[in-house]
């Protein structure tokens, strides 16, 4: 065992865990977004409710979603271990530091950005995931089959301006986390190449802008619709 634990507790090993879990979360974000965009369909929620039902009942999806929780936890735990180590590596700081001249703001603040995302995640899971699973959700019938009307819960939630705004602002922070994290994960895994690194970097920037933007658009559109 010792070589495995040695590897996984080394600074490089820990960063590899961050990169692998981070990349998995990135994949998850893309799938999650594709599902959520169904909230914008003009079908009274039928597509989204059926999708939500399938998500909760397909055994494969359930395994993946348990994996997803484990990976988020691992990403968070390792990020705390790394941040503590990194702080300890410089016990006395500089009086003057020109960090902005040699690195991006996002890259220097991944911990702060991650913490904000974590706060968002707690509110988000409490508001939707927990409600969908354990809350008193009204039902709706499609062709005589009864489904939980989770669509309705989402509509109600985003009618609140502060709630919709909270989502939009949180997605802004996610964008910054991804703007550094996406390409950084490849570098951590040693995947650096003259041909591909610029493409990965470009894809990362595109992903970091597009995905949070589309996520944020959902509460905005639902809020505007709710105004009548």
């Amino acid at each position: 065992m010792s070589w495995i634990t040695d590897t996984l507790t080394s600074t490089i090993g820990r960063k590899v865990l961050m990169a692998l879990t981070g990349l998995f979360l990135i994949l998850f974000l893309a799938v999650h977004l594709a599902g959520n965009l169904q909230l914008l369909m003009n079908d009274g929620g039928e597509a989204f409710n059926k999708y939500a039902y399938n998500m909760g009942h397909n055994p494969l999806i359930r395994v993946v979603s348990i994996g997803n929780f484990v990976f988020i936890l691992l990403h968070i735990v390792v990020s705390i271990l790394l941040t503590r180590r990194n702080k300890a590596a410089r016990p006395v700081g500089y009086k003057e530091s020109a960090g902005a001249s040699n690195s991006t703001w996002a890259s220097r603040n991944m911990g702060v950005l991650g913490t904000i995302i974590l706060i968002f995640l707690v509110v988000h899971l409490k508001g939707f995931w927990f409600e969908f699973k354990f809350g008193a959700v009204p039902t709706v019938d499609y062709d005589g089959v009864s489904f939980k009307n989770v669509y309705l819960i989402v509509q109600e939630a985003y009618k609140e301006l502060w709630y919709a705004l909270f989502y939009v602002v949180s997605m802004g922070f996610l964008a910054f986390h991804l703007s550094h994290g996406f390409a950084s994960a490849f570098q951590t895994l040693g995947l650096n190449h003259k041909k591909y690194s610029p493409i990965i970097s470009g894809l990362g920037k595109g992903f970091a802008i597009l995905v949070p933007l589309l996520f944020a658009l959902i509460p905005v559109i639902i809020y505007i619709k709710s105004l009548g």
Binding site: D6, T7, S10, L82, R90, N102
Partner: protein, 249 residues
């Protein structure tokens, strides 16, 4: 030029230390930063004060000794060593803040002098090739493609100055270690100890208390020898493949 210097003064490793302000007048724009410090120190000596201790040796940008964190950057505003920095990079009347490298692994010895033997111990742990070198071999006896030779040479340009550690928000030594692992991993002579080297040097780097790499790129931006982040990606590959395939359990 007339300048105000805000310099970190610390008697020894135990001392708490603090900033002290000094005036230097009639500084020529053509002086190097170290010459300006010499002028100030001569004045201090005449006044019977303890001169400001700082490391320096070659004064031509190759030894890596002249560690000073100037106005928030290692080696000051230019991407060069402090000895190659000239006073024309500063304005008349400017206040310049000078601090030592800050890292748990680089304890302050006195004033601006830090102990960088952590780097030496990392090299001792695996940054060598153990073969009997014998007499001078014929050139081109071992064929090495030009591109690989150039790459190895670029990695070998690292002078061990520690600016990468000083610049990094995590005080990480990854750029230094990656350059030292790369220069040997790229060449045929380095193959025998390749896996062991990556494993041992990373283990020593961690044991010395350096931070991990967040890929901010501050090290590359501040390295006076232009060591590139591709070295860090290579170190990650070297380390992972060594850990997965070496026989050291």
């Amino acid at each position: 030029m007339n300048l105000t210097l805000n310099v970190w003064r610390q008697k020894n490793t135990q001392d708490k230390g603090g900033f002290k302000s000094y005036q230097v007048s009639d500084v020529s724009a053509d002086m190097s930063f170290l010459e300006m410090m010499d002028v100030l120190n001569e004045k201090l000596e005449v006044q019977g004060e303890d001169p400001i201790h700082f490391d320096h040796d070659c004064r031509e940008g190759i030894c890596g000794m002249c560690s000073m964190y100037i106005n928030g950057k290692p080696h000051g505003p230019q991407q060069t060593t402090t000895c190659q920095l000239h006073m024309r990079s500063f304005k008349d009347g400017e206040t310049i803040t000078i601090e030592p490298w800050r890292a748990a692994a680089f304890p302050v010895v006195k004033d601006l002098v830090v102990d960088r033997s952590a780097f030496d111990r990392i090299i001792q742990s695996g940054g060598y090739v153990s073969v009997n070198t014998g007499g001078t071999p014929d050139a081109n006896e071992i064929p090495i493609p030009k591109k690989i030779a150039d790459e190895a040479f670029e990695s070998a340009e690292c002078i061990g100055c520690g600016a990468c550690v000083a610049a990094c928000k995590n005080a990480s030594a990854m750029l230094f270690v990656s350059a030292k692992v790369s220069q040997l991993a790229l060449l045929p002579q380095g193959q025998v100890e390749r896996k062991e080297r990556a494993e041992k040097m990373v283990a020593q780097m961690d044991a010395e208390g350096f931070g991990s790499c967040t890929n901010t790129g501050a090290c590359e931006a501040e390295c006076p020898k232009g060591i590139s982040l591709t070295n860090i990606a290579r170190l990650n590959r070297e380390y992972l493949s060594a850990k997965l395939t070496s026989e050291n359990v």
